[in-house]
């Protein structure tokens, strides 16, 4: 099963301060360990929210809000995608992660939905419609 691990932002990450050399080295080693074990599928760091934007939905109305955003601890500063056997294994890997901000910080481990998780959630006609939409998107993308 797949997990997305979200690294929460810190004052520094939001200010665009690059991590220390020591932290980068430690992170590099940690990543290497996960790659060598065949566990890490992907992982990237994100620019501060000042370079991002949000789209707020309210009924049919959409409002674009430019960053930065204030609630630092709730923001995401980076992520990993890992493939492991259980949530416990994901936790065990992430316990080995160096403190990502070097300060107070948090990472969040979330399981990624797989086809089998949906079960019968989508009625067949809905699923068919979704398929048609995706095909349409594909057709357009291929032009």
């Amino acid at each position: 099963m797949r997990f997305m691990v979200l690294v929460k932002a810190s004052k520094d990450s939001e200010a665009g301060v690059m991590p220390s050399k020591e932290l980068l080295t430690a992170m590099g080693q940690f990543n290497e360990e996960m790659v060598k074990a065949g566990v890490m599928l992907a992982g990237e760091g994100l620019h501060p929210s000042s370079k991002g934007a949000r789209i707020r939905f309210s009924g049919d109305k959409k409002t674009v809000i430019d960053g930065p955003f204030s609630e630092t601890k709730e923001l995401v500063a980076g992520y990993w995608m890992i493939e492991v056997k259980s949530k416990e294994e994901a936790i065990e890997w992430m316990r080995r992660c160096p403190n990502p901000t070097g300060d107070e910080g948090e990472i969040e481990i979330r399981q990624v939905f797989e086809a089998s998780d949906f079960g019968d959630a989508l009625p067949p006609e809905e699923a068919a419609r979704e398929d048609r939409l995706r095909e349409e998107m594909q057709r357009k993308a291929s032009k």
Binding site: V35, E88, E92, D131, R134
Partner: protein, 418 residues
């Protein structure tokens, strides 16, 4: 943490650490069976102590230290028995200490080499393919006997025996714990890749049972493949195999319908393909290519899979290139199955009649006599040529040959609607 939580945490630690643990110990005791027992002993100690004391900060190091002490005890005990016969007293102590120090030094060495030795030992051609598969999943995949048995739908006792016998054979034949060199390497490496691909395929197209796929096994195989690719990064075929598995696995979601029936490659909704895995597969294929050697069978198969992965719609598939790649593959490792695939590619590139010509040459091939895909492909080509009655017969024949229930239903359905 409750005791159940701790047990789950220990399982997780075991999955992560067991291969390294066993590999490190095998170098000292020179016997993977004994090494595994020592590692298991350390696991038992963890199960006894961690629920009360808590999971240590560095659980891997804890297990290694515990197992190491047991290894030293074992070596001392063996030495003592040896020495008793020789009646050497004083010298013994000094030597024992030296032995203990050697072990300490050995354990601190690079674990990568040990892991690679363990890979080659578990996949030693002296063992049967099914023994290699079981041993590899156990020693390198960190799976329990129960998990392996469940994955292959056989009894726990069968797998247990298979593993015990395999370990005994390795000990009896004194298979050295080493990475093969020189002329041996190519053959031994292909044995390793074969084992990983067997595991993958058992997960991808289950040969028995009611489900078309057992995704857990695919993930195990991918994990092993990625691991070996990092251990032997200069071997293009390892990257080829990883690329092939990543790209095949990328289609998992699209190749089975909601009711569990198979969907053929060209009918799959490509938006359901896993693009993360495709990207990884293409990257692995590129890594293989960068090594600049003549492509081997896995690289060629991955290159074929990549042709499909790159095509945004089925119509855009580069069938001429695929046919050419199959031709290269057929030259490298001639096989009627490859010829059958080449026939499909030719039919797509140049029309069903061209494909059928090659398929008809294969019908007398004894190796394909009971291979369900031959009548299945032949039926498809006949259908396209409007020879409906003949097509129906072929689909029925194909259905009678497959062991997979889902596939059988699918073929019968095609026969019915032809």
């Amino acid at each position: 943490m409750t005791s159940t939580d701790t047990h789950r945490a220990i399982d997780a630690v075991w999955r992560i650490e067991s291969a390294r643990l066993i590999a490190g110990l095998a170098r000292i005791v020179r016997d993977v069976g004994v090494a595994e027992e020592l590692a298991q002993d350390a696991l038992v100690a963890a199960l006894e102590q961690w629920p009360d004391a808590g999971v240590p900060r560095n659980p891997g190091a804890w297990l290694m230290t515990t197992a190491k002490h047991r290894a030293i005890d074992l070596l001392r005990r063996n030495k003592r028995i040896e020495r008793k016969h020789e009646e050497i007293g004083y010298e013994l102590e000094a030597r024992q200490d030296q032995a203990a120090m050697d072990i300490e030094a050995a354990l601190d060495d690079d674990v990568g080499d040990d892991l690679l030795r363990l890979v080659f030992t578990a996949c030693h051609p002296i063992l049967s393919a099914e023994a290699r598969v079981a041993l590899t999943l156990r020693l390198l995949g960190g799976l329990t006997t129960v998990e392996i048995a469940r994955a292959f739908l056989v009894s726990e006792a069968t797998i247990g025996q298979r593993i015990v016998r395999a370990k005994r054979t390795l000990a009896k034949e004194q298979v050295p714990f080493e990475v093969p060199r020189g002329a041996d390497l190519a053959g031994r490496l292909s044995s390793v890749l074969e084992v990983i691909y067997l595991i993958f395929n058992e997960g991808y197209t289950a040969t028995a049972g009611d489900d078309l796929m057992r995704p857990g096994l695919c993930e195990d195989a991918l994990r092993l493949g990625r691991m070996v690719a990092e251990l032997a990064p200069l071997e293009p075929e390892v990257h080829g195999l990883v690329a092939l598995m990543e790209i095949q696995a990328s289609r998992s979601r699209a190749r089975v319908s909601a009711s569990g029936d198979p969907i053929l490659l060209l009918d799959q909704n490509r938006a359901h393909w896993d693009h993360l895995l495709i990207r990884r597969g293409l990257a692995a294929l590129e890594r293989a290519g960068q090594l600049g050697r003549t492509p081997g069978p896995y690289v060629l198969q991955a290159a074929i899979a990549a042709c499909h992965a790159r095509a945004i719609t089925a119509e855009e598939t580069d069938w001429k290139r695929i046919a050419a790649l199959y031709e290269m593959l057929a030259k490298l490792s001639p096989s009627p199955v490859v010829e059958l695939n080449r026939a499909v590619a030719l039919s797509m590139a140049f029309g069903p009649a061209v494909g059928l010509e090659l398929v008809d040459q294969l019908t007398s091939e004894p190796l394909l006599e009971n291979y369900h895909l031959l009548p299945s492909v032949r039926g498809d080509l006949l259908f396209k040529l409007g020879r409906i009655d003949e097509a129906r017969g072929e689909f029925e024949r194909a259905a009678s040959l497959t062991r997979n229930a889902r596939e059988r239903d699918f073929l019968l359905e095609r026969a019915r609607t032809s």
